[in-house]
């Protein structure tokens, strides 16, 4: 099955996007598969419960890669793919081994994925341009060589996000960028279209 990885900094909104996007595609119940050293664990939740349980305003809520099997309908056909929600990436060496391991696994997944959705918190960039850092730059550079890297300027429902979107567009004009909001569903139609084109 084709694999799509959702990556980004902690608190960029990866998990919220994953859940909202699955709901947008028509899934009411979400079956997460979590990969752990002892084997994978399945977790079945309603979309509402998933938002409550898995999304947090504190960074690094997701410390294990979790995936969802999703499908998009195209005309009469269906396209199935696996959407991987990953652990937030950040610069430097994280003091906790568990998180370092999860970040390394996320990067490995990034390498092997058929499509990468790189989520950037546009509202944060709008408030502080310098929060667009070396990490985004390096991820985008790697993405450009692989040619399957989509940037999602997320949290567009917040006030400062428009400014942030402009900064993101200036920095990454060689890459496709879609403005999204996991809260309002903005940009989901474009994301779906893009997924169908690439996968």
């Amino acid at each position: 099955m084709r694999r799509t990885a959702v990556i980004g900094r902690p608190n960029a909104g990866k998990t919220a996007f994953t859940i909202s996007f699955a709901t947008y595609l028509g899934f009411q119940t979400l079956r997460f598969v979590r990969r752990q050293a002892e084997g994978s664990v399945e977790l079945e939740l309603s979309a509402e419960a998933a938002k409550g349980d898995l999304v947090s305003p504190l960074p690094h809520k997701t410390t294990q890669i979790q995936s969802l099997e999703l499908e998009c309908t195209v005309g009469k056909g269906k396209r199935q793919f696996e959407l991987f929600d990953t652990c937030g990436l950040m610069e430097g060496i994280h003091p906790e081994g568990e998180i370092r391991l999860a970040m390394a696994q996320s990067l490995m997944l990034l390498r092997d994925a058929d499509l990468v959705m790189h989520i950037i918190d546009a509202a944060l960039i709008g408030k502080d341009q310098s929060s667009l850092g070396v990490l985004e730059e390096e991820l985008a550079t790697w993405g450009r060589t692989r040619g399957n890297h989509l940037i999602l300027a997320n949290k567009m429902d917040l006030a400062s996000a428009n400014q942030g979107l402009r900064t993101i567009e200036r920095h990454f004009s060689a890459l496709p960028i879609i403005a999204t909001s996991a809260r309002t569903g903005q940009g989901f139609r474009e994301v779906k279209k893009y997924v169908l084109r690439i996968l």
Binding site: L89, R100, L107
Partner: protein, 307 residues
Amino acid sequence: MPQPTVEELLSKVKRGELGVEEALGLINRKGDPAPALALEQARAKLQALVGLESVKKLVGELEAFIVVQKRRQQEGLVTEPMVLHMVFSGSPGTGKTTVARILGELFLQLGVLPKGHLVEVERADLVGEYIGHTAQKTREQIRRAMGGILFIDEAYALARGGEKDFGKEAIDTLVKAMEDHKDQLLLILAGYDEEMENFLATNPGLRSRFPIQIRFPDYTVMQLESIARQMLRSRQYKLSADGQAALRRQLIAASLSGELSCGNARLVRNIIESAIRKQAVRLVAEGKLSRNELVEIQGGDLRGGED
């Protein structure tokens, strides 16, 4: 030393021996230092050039055009074919090569060119001495420039010598390569204003293949002074008050004698480099080697700078 694989780098991340961005940097560049926000840097380099306002404006337009075409492509809209071959006309030393090099970086970052390097050639690099030699030499230069920019200085010289000259064969080979490698190669023809105008007029097929024509005007004396200041600053020198006056006198004299339009920024560089040598001789002779003395260029260092 063999390059570490992605797996090896990531297990270093896991063990806490390498930061995430360092590992990514190694994956991306196999060890080169990280170029922080390279697109921004290329833009800043262009903006830092003295004068050239019309050039900067046009590059800004091109950048916007490229971005919009890419977005249109994503949306599945009809796109204009991006033909970005250019003609640069202007006197020597007006910044043609410098701008071409910056364009290479910019186009690399914008995803227009896969490598963005600049290969600078002239007639002698393209035109051969016997039948068949020219196509071979020209193709060799094209191969070197593939993925970047082929910059042909004094391109009008290719039309020198009339119908039987091998220069024509070089032009034909270049035109064919432009069509065959549309997304891989960008050609820039450069040379003096009038000669380039004649060259394009006598080769009507060429003008339409080079839709972007940029004129590089001669610098004014004031702009040349700012260029001189930039050059000195980057070399950690500065002009004393009488040094500034001497530089201006010298530039005005050069502009009146017509010497300026055949040298422009290059003439300024020669003046500066000669002044730096003269200052060194003076300091050693006078035995003054304080920090201040080491930095300051005086009027006496500049006068008669050409010899």
